[in-house]
């Protein structure tokens, strides 16, 4: 599923410690390639989350900071406003971004903070051992909903792109996936665009990537790929939810 064989300059040459079949590694590679291809590696500061990708601070070959659970966009805000010449991105999982960090997510979008957020939606808490995430599907089993997610008890999954779509501040929102090579290529386009927007000072950009977690799902890597296609994509449709063009049009129309 790898796109190219060369080690991208945006990634440190070291083995990634993710489980076999995990989506994090693919997205890391994509981000690393974008940093290289856009020529921004040396002025980029990344924010690593709390989650399996806490180790992203080792992996990305740019300045990195690791912060408290869910606070990535706030930390990124502080960095961006202090050093606007830097490109700042926050890399987060669904527990980090859509649960404990929901306030930071919404408010950084509302402020149209000129940052890039890479959001890995694997519908589970990987790091802590498979607990329910805000994006866990109805009926999906997790260690804190062992009988399957029941809306009466656990509520409903949150769709981040759809939720942020209602905010004027959100400039670019797209949902992609990495379960096939073709989708990974689309993800790379989206990630590149999300960085490009920041370079052009267009405000808050977020790419939500549907990603496999074979360990948390207790599935084989192959079945995990199938799970995304069959179960996740119907609930989380891929596509562009907001683009800077749309936003400009809207603002133009209102004025």
């Amino acid at each position: 599923m790898e796109l190219v064989n060369k080690w991208p300059a945006g990634l440190v040459e070291m083995p990634l410690r993710y489980c076999p079949g995990c989506g994090h590694g693919i997205v890391h590679r994509i981000v690393g390639e974008c940093l290289e291809e856009l020529g921004i590696r040396e002025r980029t500061v990344g924010v690593a989350p709390v989650g399996c990708s806490v180790f992203a601070d080792d992996y990305f070959n740019c300045d990195m900071i690791q912060g408290p659970h869910g606070r990535g966009p706030a930390i990124a805000t502080g960095i961006k406003r202090s050093k606007p010449e830097c490109i700042v991105f926050s890399y987060q999982g669904d527990g980090d971004l859509a649960s404990i960090g929901m306030a930071e997510t919404i408010h950084s979008a509302a402020r149209s903070e000129n940052i890039t957020v890479i959001f890995i939606n694997n519908a589970i808490y990987g790091m802590t051992g498979g607990q329910m995430a805000p994006t866990t599907l109805i009926g999906q089993k997790a260690s804190t909903c062992p009988r399957g997610r029941d809306p009466k008890v656990n509520g409903y999954p949150i769709r981040i792109c759809e939720l942020l779509q209602s905010l004027e501040g959100a400039s670019y929102l797209e949902r992609t996936s990495v379960h096939t090579a073709a989708n990974a290529i689309k993800t790379k386009k989206a990630v590149k665009r999300a960085f490009q927007n920041q370079i052009e000072c267009k405000g808050f950009s977020l790419v939500e990537v549907l990603s496999m977690c074979p360990t948390g799902w207790e599935a084989t890597p192959l079945n995990s790929v199938k799970y995304i296609a069959d179960k996740m994509m119907p609930l989380y449709p891929l596509g562009v939810y907001r683009s800077p063009e749309q936003r400009e049009q809207k603002e133009g129309g209102a004025a």
């Binding site: 410690r17 489980c19 790091m127 051992g129």
Partner: protein, 179 residues
């Protein structure tokens, strides 16, 4: 008697459940016991291990840093636990998977082809039981009967024939000799 035991192998080889079984058996024999796993990100590397203490006195630290006995089911575990053993301690090695020979001369070593014995009995899934049987036989920390009694308590949903197979593996393991 105070037996501090370390059991280690690949995730999926069943060292964690074998450890629980050992502790449960000790409890059934009225001993003081503890079980402690390596947990969290420590396990992402693919090896699992646990500490078990079976003792007549109180259990002090549940983390066994100087084991009396170590059971190693794979190659990386040997490198990690051989140096930690107490002088005079017992090293049980799954010789089906571990090719390296232990280096220390101040310990007792039992080379047990756990996978091969398990395969002969029907499935390599019970290689952990062969190793546990060897441990029981060589240390006397618990009896095979106690482990057999502990089996249905730990594997609550296992079918009787599976439990029986486990007991066979235990008994086969108990025939192991140490040098």
């Amino acid at each position: 008697m105070y037996q501090g035991i370390r059991m280690s192998g690949f995730g999926g080889q069943g060292v964690i459940s074998a450890g629980i079984l050992l502790a449960q058996a000790g409890l059934l024999e009225g001993k003081n016991v503890s079980w402690f796993p390596a947990y969290g990100a420590e396990m992402r590397g693919g090896t699992a291990n646990c500490s078990v203490v079976v003792a007549d006195d109180e259990v002090s630290s549940p983390i066994v840093s100087r084991p009396d006995t170590a059971v190693v089911l794979n190659e990386p575990s040997l490198a990690k636990f051989e140096p930690m053993l107490k002088p005079g301690g017992l090293l049980i090695v799954n010789s089906s998977l571990v090719n390296t020979k232990p280096k220390r001369t101040d310990i007792r070593v039992a080379l047990v082809p756990c996978n091969a014995i398990a395969q002969e009995l029907g499935t390599i899934k019970i290689a952990n039981m062969v190793a546990l049987g060897a441990l029981a036989g060589l240390t006397g920390a618990v009896s095979i009967e106690a482990i057999a009694k502990a089996l249905p308590k730990v594997f609550k949903r296992a079918k009787p024939e599976i439990l029986e197979l486990n007991v066979k593996a235990l008994k086969k393991g108990a025939e192991a000799k140490a040098e």
